[in-house]
């Protein structure tokens, strides 16, 4: 059993209740079984031979949105998210994963994407070959396949900033997802291939749009999938664009500001899972662009997850619950516009808004209605 390696965390968390209120799933469902403490108790009993990995346990371990609040909150630096991931690895090896997880694994193995079906290849932003000063633009699944307009806007922005964007022919986004679902070996292989493609791109600089792929390239949580390279530097696109704006290479039309009241929907990976959170750069960019940016209680590291695409694919009803709660949080600050940091987040929010509307909630018009747009789309509108 892999969980033996995480006994310190598991035994520390099994009787500790200090992060219950921040656990996205426990908070949105109100269910005891969903709390990190309950899950740790199960794992501690498995470690002691008084409980077996069962369908029940598999469901509980898989119902985690990977929001990262528990690890961020813990004063004792116990990272239960990591222990739950190792349990998922055990479950995958025992072939006891929930059916929705197994189905997603099969799809990821065949397409490398949440959004593409087998055999399909959706378009993306402009392709160019790398040349001197070429920027490797890593879009990720959401911006490349889910909401291609975001990828196109990102490519356009890099060009406006004076760069020459280059896209990988095959940007496999499934590796991290497989790894996080518990398919560690399969995930690692794909991640390694992705790392090699990044390094072999010939570019000296990579700019990443997708929060999950940026996390993958910058993270320090999982040593076995850490990206280490001396030939290419990796930056999130918000950091890249901000630097270009400060250098005067990216011109923003701040004279025609967005009058709409705008709030940012932060992303889990960027807000809570990176070694250094990426929260200020998008705000500074929007500020420079003259956007009427409002602050809200539930922002930055306090942002409630919209559920992540991985979670939305495996537990759509629960992801909808989370997204619905997020919409309620956002509505409190009465925005006209919500800016997302990822294509997947945009799609999840929009889907939840549609589902709420079809259930009779006041979306589309009247109080609480807002538009959702991605940071790349907003910036592309105001940059010259």
């Amino acid at each position: 059993m892999h969980i033996t390696t995480e006994q310190l965390i598991i035994d520390g968390c099994r009787f500790c209740y200090m992060c219950r209120h921040v656990c996205t799933i426990a908070r949105c469902t109100g269910e005891e079984e969903m709390s990190p403490q309950s899950k740790a108790l199960m794992l501690s009993m498995i470690l002691r031979g008084s409980l077996q990995y069962s369908t029940d346990v598999a469901e509980a371990m898989s119902k985690c949105s990977l929001c990262g609040w528990c690890r961020m909150w813990c004063e004792g630096k116990r990272d239960f998210m990591k222990a739950a991931l190792v349990a998922k690895r055990d479950l995958a090896e025992l072939n006891r994963v929930p059916t929705s997880v197994a189905a997603l694994r099969d799809r990821l193995m065949s397409t490398g994407s949440y959004h593409r079906t087998a055999g399909s290849r959706r378009g993306s932003a402009a392709h160019t070959r790398p040349g001197s000063g070429g920027i490797l633009l890593i879009l990720g699944d959401g911006a490349r396949n889910g909401e291609p307009a975001i990828g196109q806007a990102a490519g356009s922005l890099v060009k406006k900033a004076g760069g020459t964007p280059f896209l990988l022919d095959a940007e496999d986004c499934g590796g991290l997802a497989l790894y996080l679902l518990g398919y560690a070996d399969e995930g690692r292989k794909r991640i390694q291939a992705f790392f090699e493609a990044v390094e072999g791109s010939g570019c000296r600089e990579a700019v990443v749009v997708s929060p999950d792929l940026y996390f993958l390239l910058a993270q320090d949580i999982f040593p076995d999938i850490q990206f280490k390279s001396s030939s290419i530097t990796v930056r999130h696109i918000a950091s890249y664009l901000l630097q270009k704006a400060k250098e005067g290479a990216l011109h923003m039309d701040g004279s025609a500001p967005h009058k709409r009241r705008t709030v940012i929907h932060d992303n889990d990976f960027l807000a809570r899972l990176l070694p250094v959170p990426l929260l200020d750069e998008p705000r500074e960019l929007l500020g420079r662009a003259g956007v009427n940016l409002a602050h809200m209680f539930w922002e930055r590291e306090k942002c409630l997850s919209a559920g992540s695409w991985l979670f939305a694919e495996t537990y759509p009803q629960m992801a909808f619950l989370v997204a619905r709660k997020r919409i309620e949080d956002l509505q409190e600050s009465t925005p006209d516009l919500v800016v997302t940091m990822s294509g997947d987040d945009k799609l999840i929010l929009m889907r939840a808004i549609q589902e709420r509307a079809s259930a009779g909630a006041p979306e589309g018009s009247g109080r609480g209605a807002f538009e959702v747009s991605d940071l790349m789309e907003i910036l592309d509108e105001v940059c010259r």
Binding site: Y17, M18, G30, E32, Q37, S38, S50, E332
Partner: protein
């Protein structure tokens, strides 16, 4: 019930519960039941740590309304099925453990905020709300219940009411029993009642105070109105080191009896100053650490701070200043995270007693002597909640793992022997069973010794309200 075996009878009951709460909200899966079988009490923790199976409820029900709770209690009464109410499951006394199986009513889906009244300064909410979630909603409006215990993130409003909880600012703002304005309760027979609208009246005994602290034995509190406060203009702290606990205790007593109205005083005995203050705050000092705080209008706070500082400086050996006081406030919950908090394989208990100022030191020494008479056992304490007549002692015994038997049955015997000896020492020298953690399963056995003939009053109330003894049987000695 409690055999945990499926039978046609259990399916009959299941159908009735599903008819009330909906199929999704009635759980019989093993993980759901397991999640409601262990709380913060050391005994079940030790039990499962040693590979034993905890006592599972037969059903976990998530009610969505007071009316559903009422119907569920009628079903339970009809079939004589035990009902245990579960909030956050974070109690340290075993109060929420379903030791006789039956139904666990998990209240966490009854978490709506019904009204924030900014004229009367009250909030009305369903009792299943996690208290930190309630606080966050209030904080957005610059308001607070000022009920800030370490368990704020895991416990529910109902849980605090059920065991007379307290928070770090209790000295100024009160314990939960001081904050309650009114409540709705479902009696064991399913009848729904409301207590009087306001807590100050001359209309007979206070029903709020009957249900507060009743730990789910008299009914289910489903809705409560509690006081709220504006966030103060400022809150300031100052910390000191005293030669010993005696001097520090006396300084705290003077601050309280001179009615300076601090929002917090916390004083750690020599052992805990060395053990915990050093570990969590990084302050390496010998003696007793004391921190106090005042909040409100800055002009007034400055005067209060000055006078309290003068009192402390008469006997303190060192003024650590405001920064070391702020540090305590910033880290006040850190003490409760692993690895800072005690944990298995140690055996430990937070005994939490209260006494008048003339007796509290004797209580301390008698309890310390009792605890440390057991091999490998140390005693530490801090004084957390202060009144104008006495204070509360948050005292703990900690048994070194080498002295805790591996056999869980023997470990529990040792554990209880320590408890009995320490609590009897407290009762004999002027203390009480408990100040804010409650009684639960752990201390029920000693309730008669504490109350004497007065315990009949509680038994009579229980027999009248719950003649079939379905509500949290085996708890509070009832």
């Amino acid at each position: 019930m409690s055999g945990n075996e499926a039978s046609y009878f259990s399916v009959m009951v299941l159908s009735e519960l599903e008819d009330v709460a909906g199929r999704e909200e009635v759980r019989t899966g093993h993980s759901d039941r397991l999640a409601h079988a262990v709380d913060y009490y050391w005994v079940p923790r030790c039990w499962v740590d040693r590979g034993r199976q905890p006592i599972l409820p037969d059903y976990v029900v998530y009610p969505g309304s007071t009316e559903q709770v009422s119907k569920i209690l009628r079903i339970a009464n009809q079939h004589r099925i035990p009902v245990t109410v579960w909030g956050g499951g974070a109690g340290s006394q075993g109060g929420a453990l379903p030791v006789r199986g039956g139904i666990v009513l998990d209240m966490k889906k009854m978490n709506r905020i019904i009204e924030i009244n900014d004229q009367a300064y009250t909030v009305t909410a369903e009792t299943g709300i996690i208290h930190q979630h309630l606080e966050w909603e209030l904080n957005k409006r610059k308001l607070s219940t000022m009920h800030l215990p370490a368990s704020i993130g895991c416990s529910t409003l109902g849980g605090f009411l059920a065991h007379r909880g307290t928070g770090v600012l209790s000295i100024k703002y009160g314990k939960i029993e001081d904050l309650i304005v009114n409540m709705q309760v479902v009696l064991p027979d399913g009848e729904i009642i409301d207590t009087l609208r306001v807590p100050r009246n001359a209309s007979g005994p206070d029903l709020n105070q009957l249900f507060v602290g009743s730990e789910g034995t008299f009914g289910v509190m489903t809705r409560a109105t509690v006081k709220i406060f504006e966030e103060p203009e400022c809150r300031k702290y100052r910390a000191f080191i005293f030669k010993d606990m005696h001097d520090a205790l006396d300084a705290g007593r003077l601050i309280m009896t001179r009615r300076l109205a601090p929002c917090v005083i916390r004083m750690y005995d020599e052992a805990e100053t060395k053990h915990q203050i050093q570990r969590v705050l990084g302050i390496e000092k010998e003696g007793a650490y004391l921190v106090f705080g005042f909040d409100g209008y800055e002009e007034i706070v400055d005067i209060q701070m000055r006078i309290a500082t003068e009192i402390c400086m008469r006997t303190a050996v060192e003024d650590l200043g405001s920064e070391m006081g702020e540090s305590w406030w910033t880290n006040k919950y850190k003490f409760f995270f692993p690895p800072y908090i005690m944990d298995i394989p140690e055996a430990f208990g937070t005994m939490d007693t209260v006494a008048t100022y003339d007796k509290i030191e004797t209580v301390y020494h008698r309890m310390k002597e009792s605890a440390e008479s057991f091999p490998g056992t140390k005693f530490i304490a801090h004084f957390s909640h202060w009144y104008d007549w006495g204070c509360m002692m948050y005292d703990r015994f900690i048994v070194h793992p080498d002295h805790v038997p591996q056999d869980p049955e023997e470990a529990i015997r040792l554990y209880n022997r320590i408890w009995y000896k320490c609590i009897r020492a407290a009762l004999e020298s002027g203390g009480l069973l408990n100040e804010h953690h409650g009684v639960g399963l752990k201390l029920g056995y000693l309730m008669r010794e504490q109350f004497g003939p007065a315990f009949k009053v509680l038994q009579g109330i229980k027999a009248t309200l719950d003649p079939n003894n379905i509500m949290n049987p085996g708890k509070m000695g009832l």
